[in-house]
């Protein structure tokens, strides 16, 4: 059986809707005005967003990126120079704040080298999540399922003509994000992130950008500069989309939340060692917002270091949380299992989710 395309379905719905409206108004069905033309695939918001995900793999550029975040009455900003050679070589050099001026990071695939210029030291890390295409594709699918991508007017960012797209949560109806996508290269040039109350949480945008295929490979050289100490790096856990297998490999019965915000699904899981404790890490997402659940059977209390955690409760259990920029970490223990939820959600939502994690 031939399945009608989305386009054909939408056209049919539009015609039916228009006809129905005329019938309701008692007007003669003929002549029916031609329906408002639907946007072409290239103009559709979801197509633009999907193209933006893929753009860095084929577009090389040099640019200066500014990030600003607002929290209460305070704000903070950073300025980074970015050299990106498609598909996977990137150098980020800090320009501001002054305390980090000159520090740089070279990322090649899932390996990254961090150069701490002031202390003449180098750290190499490996993060397999960077190149996990399956997880990324799942993420895009979730984004399209949970958010409506509504195209807006063309605007100019860093001297480039950009398509604007608002991402509106299908469940809450709130605009979560607005992105600016380069009309010619599809690169994400800017994004604004909004809080649930509609206020602006962060703004990321290129102040300037130019596209070039002539970035010398020397820019991405990763040798140890003279006089630098090379420190042993950290290898992050390899997230697996084979969730069931990972959960089976945990040394204890994994506990998953019974309640999650609308649209959230598990994206990946991995068994990793954090602070000498072997535990399970599950990552949930709705395509934009993310939530990690860490658990282990050590019954060890969370170590907040020099942070000042705020005390709270998860049902009858003492708990504590801290905020790190847009991210909140909530930790508690129950029946010998230590839990920590980390995510870009409101603390009330986090506590509600935590209460549904029942060992």
């Amino acid at each position: 059986m031939q399945v009608p395309s989305k386009f054909a379905l939408r056209s049919a719905i539009t015609v039916a809707y228009t006809s129905g409206l005329f019938a309701l108004l008692g007007a003669s069905p003929a002549p029916v005005p031609s329906p408002v033309p639907l946007p072409t695939a290239a103009q559709r918001g979801d197509t633009l967003v999907r193209a933006a995900f893929a753009a860095p793999k084929r577009v090389s550029y040099v640019g200066q990126l500014q990030v600003t975040r607002w929290s209460g009455s305070r704000s903070a900003a950073e300025l980074t120079r970015i050299e990106h050679r498609a598909p996977a070589d990137t150098r980020r050099t800090m320009l501001a704040p002054p305390s980090m001026y000159g520090d740089y990071e070279i990322q090649r695939g899932d390996d990254s080298w961090n150069y701490d210029v002031k202390h003449a030291r180098l750290l190499r890390t490996k993060n397999p999540a960077t190149t996990n295409a399956v997880a990324l594709n799942d993420n895009i699918a979730l984004l399209e399922k949970n958010y409506r991508a509504i195209p807006g007017p063309m605007e100019t960012i860093a001297g480039r003509l950009a398509s604007t797209v608002s991402l509106v949560n299908r469940y809450t109806g709130e605009r979560t994000m607005r992105v600016w996508i380069d009309a010619r290269t599809s690169l994400l040039l800017a994004k604004d992130v909004y809080r649930a109350d509609g206020s602006l949480e962060s703004r990321v945008r290129y102040e300037e950008i130019r596209y070039t295929n002539d970035i010398p490979m020397a820019i991405f050289a990763t040798q140890v500069p003279g006089g630098y100490a090379s420190l042993p790096g950290h290898t992050f856990g390899e997230p697996s989309t084979a969730i069931d297998r990972t959960l089976r490999d945990a040394a204890f019965t994994p506990i998953t939340p019974k309640e999650l915000p609308e649209g959230f699904s598990i994206l990946s899981a991995d068994i990793s060692e954090t602070s000498g404790v072997r535990g399970l890490h599950m990552l949930y997402t709705d395509g934009i917002r993310n939530l990690s659940l860490f658990e282990n059977n050590s019954n060890r209390e969370a170590d907040f270091g020099g942070l000042t955690p705020i005390k709270t409760r998860v049902e009858d259990h003492p708990a504590a949380y801290v905020k790190d920029g847009p991210t909140t970490l909530l930790a508690w223990r129950e029946k010998g299992i230590a839990f920590a939820l980390v995510g870009d959600l409101d603390i009330k939502e986090m506590i509600q989710i935590a209460a549904s994690v029942v060992p």
Binding site: F53, P56, V62, G63, V67, R69, S73, S75, A76, A77, E78, L79, T80, M94, L95, A96, P97, P98, S99, M100, E105, N114, N127, A129, A135, L136, L167, K191, E208, A218, L231, G233, H234, D270, T274, S275, G276, G279, H281, L283, T285, G287, I288, N290, F294, N296, A302, D303, F304, G305, G306, L307, T308, V322, D324, G325, L329, A340, V342, D344
Partner: protein, 185 residues
């Protein structure tokens, strides 16, 4: 470039503002790595740009607790040089109790020394589950280009032997820490 193989201030200004061709950009970048005079000139220009940019932000600033904690963690994890440790031992506050402990240990015998070693171990037992490490693990796995954490600049965190994908924007405030605070605690 001037006759004595240095870039002119105008060329450096153009470089800082990304107004030069990619090839020239790379050449200046490489030159700066080995020429102190040009670096100084570049830093002068950059200081002015940074000061102008920072001016509105300095009106109201407060160090987020998470940044203070990570800075202190880094300070605590920093291993002093053997010379500095030796000098520390010679300070009266340490030297006198140490001398007294040696005398007492000699008097009461080895078991006393062993018990103090046990007390030391107990006080430095492996701490709990590090919140900062969990935040890093979370950030490392969030690879959605639209995510707030995506593309955040990894940097050296409080754990020298471990990567820290701390979002730069927060560490920006670390610059406000008075240098003397580190030695005061």
């Amino acid at each position: 470039m001037t006759d004595n193989n240095h870039y002119t201030p105008d060329e450096l200004v153009d470089y800082l503002h990304g107004e030069v061709s990619p090839g020239r950009d790379a050449a200046i970048f490489a030159h700066l790595a080995r020429c102190a005079a040009c670096r100084e000139e570049r830093d002068l220009e950059l200081a002015l740009v940074t000061a102008l940019r920072d001016e509105p932000r300095f009106a109201e600033r407060e160090m987020p607790a998470v940044i203070r904690a990570r800075v202190w963690e880094a300070v605590r994890n920093e291993r002093p040089s053997p010379l500095a440790r030796l000098a520390g031992l010679l300070r009266p506050a340490f030297a006198l109790p140490t001398a007294a402990a040696i005398v007492l240990a000699a008097y009461f015998g080895i078991p006393a020394a062993q018990s103090s070693r046990l007390a030391y171990d107990a006080a430095h037992a492996t701490p709990g589950w590090s919140a900062a490490a969990l935040l890093d693990e979370h950030a490392a796995e969030v690879q959605n280009p639209l995510s707030d954490r995506a593309g955040s600049f990894a940097r050296f965190g409080g754990r020298p032997a471990q990567a820290s994908a701390v979002p730069l924007v927060d560490t920006a405030d670390a610059a406000m820490l008075p240098a003397t605070d580190a030695s005061a605690e």
